[in-house]
Amino acid sequence: MTEFRVPKLNNNDTSYILVEWLAGDGQQVRDGEPIVLLETSKATEEVEAPADGVLRRLVAEGAECEPGQVIARLLGSADEPVREAAGQTTDGNPHGTDTPAPPGDAAGVVVTGPARDLIEAHGIAMERVYALGRKVIRRSDVEELLGGQEPSPAADDAPAAGDDAQWITLSRAQQRTAEVVERSRREIPAAFTAMNVDVTEVLSLARDLTRKLRALVGLPEMVVKATGGLLDRFPMFFAEPGSDTRGPGLRARRAVTADVGVTVDVGQGLFIPVVRDAGNRTLAEIAADLAGFRTTALSGSFRERDLRGGAITLTLHTHDGIVFAVPIVFPGQTCALSLTAPRSEVVQDGTGFAVRKTATLGLAYDHRYINGRDAAEFLRELRTALESPARFLTENG
């Protein structure tokens, strides 16, 4: 037996499309005979059999295949007998399999789906249908056969088939997200407050720092850093609720460092990797962490240790046009922040007006531990830090 592998046809494609098999499954092919047509991004190539043998296809027409992948086997005569391949089509034009094929025994009469449903619902013999002498049988033709009687409503209610195509299955990452948010909703009485922040200056500082540090610094990086600086003044916002979250013995465990989780979702599911000790690390380090997380989200997979043990969560809603967002409080935490993309707003400026960049900071908080007043104080401190960024950076390294 010879394995037939996809040859490397060029240097710039990682995969090719198997357009067409030029030899049938179970067919005897000779060394050097073209057996498959592959399409690269620039060309179609016929590929020849590397040896004599009986072709066993392993990959269907229209599928993608990679250089080196085994797409067929060539069996010698001593190999296991090949079973007959039935009904091979080579036009590579699969019709939806759920479309009923027109019956061949009635000289090309076409029966539409709705007509077929009604025929089956009423158990009408096909001979009667063909006797109408029409080439196309529609639902109205079948109703005619039924003698004008009203079609029974049952015939109209197509039962919901247990058809897999009707269900959207969730990825494993999404299943995990579902469990977490469901638990949060069940256990945490959350309230919400939002505040507008003028981010004009912090954005221009971030641009300068991006050049200086050679790392992407944006508003999320700044907010992580500013949040980290609030641990000492607002311990409850970083604390972990005790295991007994009911009754008079309510307690929360202080966090030693401000470990800030940040949402990352590049379309592969939602992940919340954690920036460790955001209060005491430099902006460059924080930026490097977040850049690493984005890369991992795009092309790798997070390790559990990246995702464990956040003390507070920053959820990013930086799509253009979002005004504010209410985050879910992560179980094991007392609050979660949300951040929108900056937008231009006209604000009062002395006796006139100025255009400033603003963003909305939201705070969802567990009302058992935190009240509205605390929330407002916390947001105000955050806003102060972001609106005078030079100071908070020099104070906090």
Binding site: I17, V19, E20, L37, E39, S41, K42, A43, T44, E45, E46, T90, D91, G92, N93, H95, G96, T99, P100, A101, P102, G108, V110, T112, G113, P114, A115, R134, K135, V136, R138, R139
Partner: protein, 325 residues
């Protein structure tokens, strides 16, 4: 069973053998490469210096082709991807097309510019376009497109017979499809060189669709679903000559017409067809002609995003259902 690419290759072989004045030029058209899509395979070995692999300059290729045609020979020029024909725009529109009638007497310019066109293959924004609309309405220039129903040899003969330069589009998705093969529900016939695909014995269609070669299979898939699931009978007209728009047969009793074109919205071939049909059908149309085009967007490289931009069977079906509802 012949694939469209093989059929084209055979037609080129026959043409160059029967007419020694035909030259063929293009990037990588010589063997062993035989053209990016293998349509010119085996020609350089048989016809020697009449087949030339050229440098990467579409302007030069089209210009040399037009020069050969002007000097009394015939030329077929291959543009590797239709997108690159933009680089030959000046030679085609200002030199080849105008040369037919700017010297005080009619001058034949037997030039055919072959353009592998269209997307739906994940080739990205610069290798997937349909540039037809940019060449509509150029005096002296005709547009043709390969279809699964038309004999390529006859089309080459027709184009050379016109004595004016022609752009000949070949949708890349057709290359691997079979010639003369149609969905098992439908039949087809050629009426005055327009392929008419119809449902035998179904009487008057609910809608007549008009499309070009590259969208035939997607349109047939839509017609199949429209018939079997929506009980709407459609007929399809596929002209090989796109511009000037030829007379389309059998529209006299069509209650509705829908033109399907994979060019992006705005100044399209579909609009040109509708413009040609309105005066003729004005008294009978019950509603405006439906135009189905690709979205007014740059074609994305990611296949799932590309599908949303380009015309697909389900968008054709939805447009017909919407129009007839």
């Amino acid at each position: 069973m012949t694939r469209v690419s093989e059929h084209l290759n055979q037609a080129l072989h026959d043409l160059m053998e029967s007419d020694p004045s035909v030259h063929l030029l293009g990037e990588d058209v010589g063997d062993p490469y035989g053209g990016a899509f293998k349509v010119t395979r085996g020609l350089s070995g048989r016809f020697g210096s009449r087949v030339r692999s050229t440098p990467l300059s579409e302007g030069a290729i089209a210009g040399v082709g037009a020069g050969l045609a002007l000097a009394g020979d015939k030329a077929i020029v291959e543009i590797m991807f239709a997108d690159f024909v933009a680089l030959a725009f000046d030679q085609i529109t200002n030199f080849a097309a105008k040369s037919t009638s700017m010297y005080g007497r009619p001058v034949p310019v037997p030039l055919v510019v072959r353009c592998p066109t269209g997307g739906n293959r994940g080739y990205g924004p610069t290798h997937s376009q349909n540039p037809q609309k940019h060449f509509i309405g150029v005096p002296g220039l005709s547009l043709f497109e390969m279809t699964p129903f038309h004999d390529a040899g006859e089309l080459f003969a027709r184009m050379f017979g016109l004595g004016r330069p022609c752009l000949f589009f070949e949708d890349k998705v057709l290359y691997t499809r079979q010639m003369h093969r149609v969905d098992d529900l439908f039949r087809y016939e050629l009426v005055d060189d327009v392929a008419r695909v119809y449902l035998d014995g179904a009487g008057r269609p609910d809608c007549t669709l008009v499309t070009h070669g590259g969208l035939v299979h997607r349109t047939l898939d839509a017609m199949r679903a429209l018939l079997l699931e929506d009980e709407l009978v459609c007929e399809l007209l596929v002209p090989a000559q796109l511009y000037p728009v030829p007379r389309l047969p059998g529209l006299e009793d069509a209650p509705h017409v829908c033109v399907v074109d994979d060019g992006t919205e705005g100044g399209t071939w579909a609009a040109e067809v509708a413009t040609a049909l309105y005066p003729r059908l004005w008294d009978r149309l019950r509603r405006p002609i439906t135009l189905v085009n690709s979205a007014d967007r740059v074609i994305p490289a990611a296949p799932h995003l590309e599908r949303e931009v380009l015309v697909q069977a389900d968008s054709i079906r939805a447009a017909v259902r919407e129009a007839l509802s």
